[in-house]
Symmetry: C2
Subunit: 586 residues, 2 copies
Amino acid sequence: MTQILRMSNLYAPTLKEDPSDADIDSARLLLRAGMLRKAASGLYTFLPLGFRVLKKIENIVREEMDASGAQEILMPVLQPAELWEESGRLNDYGPELMRLTDRHDREMCLGPTHEEIIVALVRNELRSYKELPQNLYQIQTKYRDEIRPRFGLLRSREFVMKDAYSFNATQESLQETYDAMGKAYGAICERCGLDYREVEADGGQIGGKVTTEFMALAESGEADLVYCSCGYAADAEAGACLARPTLYEVDAMEKIATPDVHTIAELAAFLNIPESSTVKALSGKDAEGNLVCLFIPGDHELNELKIEGLVPGFTLLTDEEMISFGLCKGSMGPVGLPEGARIIAATSLQAIPQWVVGANEDGYHYVGARLGEDFQVDEWADLATVKPGDCCPTCGLPLEGARGIEVAQIFQLGDKYSRAMGATFMDEDGEEKPFIMGCYGVGISRTLAAIVEQHNDEHGIMWPLSVAPAHICVVPLTVGDAEVQPMAEKIAKDLAELGFEVVIDDRDERAGVKFNDADLIGWPVQIVVGKRGLKEGKVEMKLRRTGEKKEVALDALAEMMGFARRAMRDNVLHGAGTGAFAAIFG
Amino acid sequence: MTQILRMSNLYAPTLKEDPSDADIDSARLLLRAGMLRKAASGLYTFLPLGFRVLKKIENIVREEMDASGAQEILMPVLQPAELWEESGRLNDYGPELMRLTDRHDREMCLGPTHEEIIVALVRNELRSYKELPQNLYQIQTKYRDEIRPRFGLLRSREFVMKDAYSFNATQESLQETYDAMGKAYGAICERCGLDYREVEADGGQIGGKVTTEFMALAESGEADLVYCSCGYAADAEAGACLARPTLYEVDAMEKIATPDVHTIAELAAFLNIPESSTVKALSGKDAEGNLVCLFIPGDHELNELKIEGLVPGFTLLTDEEMISFGLCKGSMGPVGLPEGARIIAATSLQAIPQWVVGANEDGYHYVGARLGEDFQVDEWADLATVKPGDCCPTCGLPLEGARGIEVAQIFQLGDKYSRAMGATFMDEDGEEKPFIMGCYGVGISRTLAAIVEQHNDEHGIMWPLSVAPAHICVVPLTVGDAEVQPMAEKIAKDLAELGFEVVIDDRDERAGVKFNDADLIGWPVQIVVGKRGLKEGKVEMKLRRTGEKKEVALDALAEMMGFARRAMRDNVLHGAGTGAFAAIFG
């Protein structure tokens, strides 16, 4: 039988005031509700109620991972730096990798991710294609030395992750595991009650070209994303360029005087055309110092992630460097660029036969500059950051924009790590081949914060049933009363026997204090037991999410709750359980 | 329903040979059984089967902790060094404390224990005696930078611990929590199937004078302990001095020539008396360099832990130092020691009126030196290490000796940390008082190793039911056979539906390979499904622990296993479940 939690000795110190250093709703509410405490910058302690939620999310993740056929293991957090040298990431990873030297002066690091350790683990043990695929996962504390830890659990230095690594013999097999993980992650988000989008993303320090992020939609999110009613969604940093430049048609290329025009906004205003009809020019240099000129639709911004992928070491030119290359700031264009300049333009501009561009001469621009005749482009590429209003690449409708919290990400790594670290298997045809790998991460503590970001109101948290620290809070209005107290205890006991997780607020506090705390902590259901109600054989039931209240006869309580319990079992398996009590309040 | 594990895709790479670097049975067997792998010195990965055992132990610990009323939390592993400065342990802890500096050059450490963090957590939140007692625990990875990691999980650098900290208002309340934890720890050891002893111990770096260790008896253990049939037990390093020196009686003190006698053994042989009738002398100096002379029964050894507690900074004199103090090596005694020497003798010698001791003159000893007449003793103290054969301090019978693995320890800390860190509460009488604290640790990964040390034979591991990676292994002898394979699958499914954890060895391997692996991994029950047996409607059941085999009719299997399942539920709640199948084999 589940133990009944008692508020009288539960270590859940709620706070009356908002903590001064909470910079986001989830941190503020988790601190106020006595679920979380800050131990130091970016380091938190989960108090009993916060810990219960963390464990529930962990168990949902574990269940979905096990159902997918993945196997749970536990690797060390502490990793020898040598392994990171082997993979080539020791320097790439930068100062976010926490390092230390042990007492024998060996360099170690605290794992932010475990590709190196797991490749070293399997490389002498998984030998044949017959033993593949394998998908191994762990749930563990991870480390990232954030330069500025903030937003509570969203950017902390120590956090709980589920990380999985698959070893496949072929790309097709990897795709199958990747798809299975995507499906499991969708189920995890559903069961945690998250409104989320699967978005195209970028591999970052992990690597891999095919990667999907699972974004919980939230205004407070750090990521910009675009999505469409057709189902398409992408991280704005990584989405394919979906800009729709508009044509400004003239008969032939014409050089026009544009006095005092130095920006796209000024140019568009001067010509009385939309910014999307102009072409923005940017100049930079590659790692060797060679000139690179970029052109994108006037209403877009250059995406630094994308240009770095295309031109490693790319940096924008300073004003002095522009002058030394003979470029004209504020009036740059593709016509008459210096010899040897590498010209790259946004793919979306390919459809525009005539461009409005700078004339490489201060105070002058061209309109109607003809692609292929007046100027050439060396390369077409995806250069701009997607933004709301751009065309959906799938269906063509305008994209919507949103902000999101990245709670999970899946990657197709290919042979990046297995090749670098010499991890091979014997293929069907007797050939030694590097493993094809995938990796799959869920931020467990991040998910907890994302749930709070999505499920709160001015009174506090509104936990989905599936992850609530307990399902039902029984509130005796007068503790010690000869009728109220025993009846509250009996109701709590009966509900616990039905399989609910129950807390009883047996503190000798005023009703207002109890109600406020119950709303702040966010128990999904409250059952209030008072003297007056009992006289009529009734208690009051309240749904935290909707605020609905209902008087329920004691006679009917057990049956109704039994019904809700069965509904809940069903509900939390296929979602967050939010509808379990609908029938009672319906 | 529990999922059925399949050997065909389980990541459990068993090894045919003993790994060369395994220096203890548990490490050797866990590696060979494909449950554990070494990632680096003192760092291990738990593979799926090892992880399942780890989780089971963790859950037993969690259940017993929750039942005791303790509440689970999760504190950060990474701790600011400032907190350790506050408590005064930053330097005391020594090089076993793993340290690092973060990117902002702040000193941090990886927690080997969490007194500092938890005192900082509660010190501004637990304010009144009304909120006490509280007992908060966590299950977490901990760190100790062992100078020479060895013995697999027993001396690793990263390990899983359950650590609990209690905050009490009074010593009486602390004693209650301490006793409750002792009871919970006994239950944990029982349920894990450990043959263990609760022993008096020493506080070490944690501190605290009242402390008990839970020792799993094992020849490979690093600790010496003594115990008695009456229930008394102690760590030999820490046990009260229970020596029984014997009297060698003469009429009066007599100085006798003892040519070539320099050791206790030589002296006893020369006088033809037992070593326990002589008195061993040792000379040392305190931190200030003052002479300290120690006397203990001749058959005992000085306990360094005890003398360090009594004379901080104590070191034994070198030969040169002895000469400079005017002492005579090989013939030291309490009669005529240099002026100012601090003379400390073992309490057990207090009962001996006449001593056999050195005469402080080369080649001479005294017999019958009279305590209080011929010489004086400044202090009586517990100085010697207990050894088997010494008297039990409770009942007087001779003590037995054993070696043990320390799997858990409980401490009464008193106000050591709360006072140093200014953590106080308001007492009933309105006074601010420091919390009275206790702390309570269980080595989870250590317990796993201890279980293997106690439960193995020449074929492999013999897991107790309560912690086995699965309960029953179904072995179809011919995979793919039209009768054997489906019947094995059906039996596995039926057993899983009964609530057993089942693994099926569906690998296309020879029977011998499967039997060897099943014994090595140590599934408690094996059910062998073969062609010949099926013809007679029978399968073979084998108990791993006893090696007993029994033919069971398919008709009777379900009923018998249902019976065993019910017996097991009962058994594992009150022990390791070893007897659950007794009825079937009885």
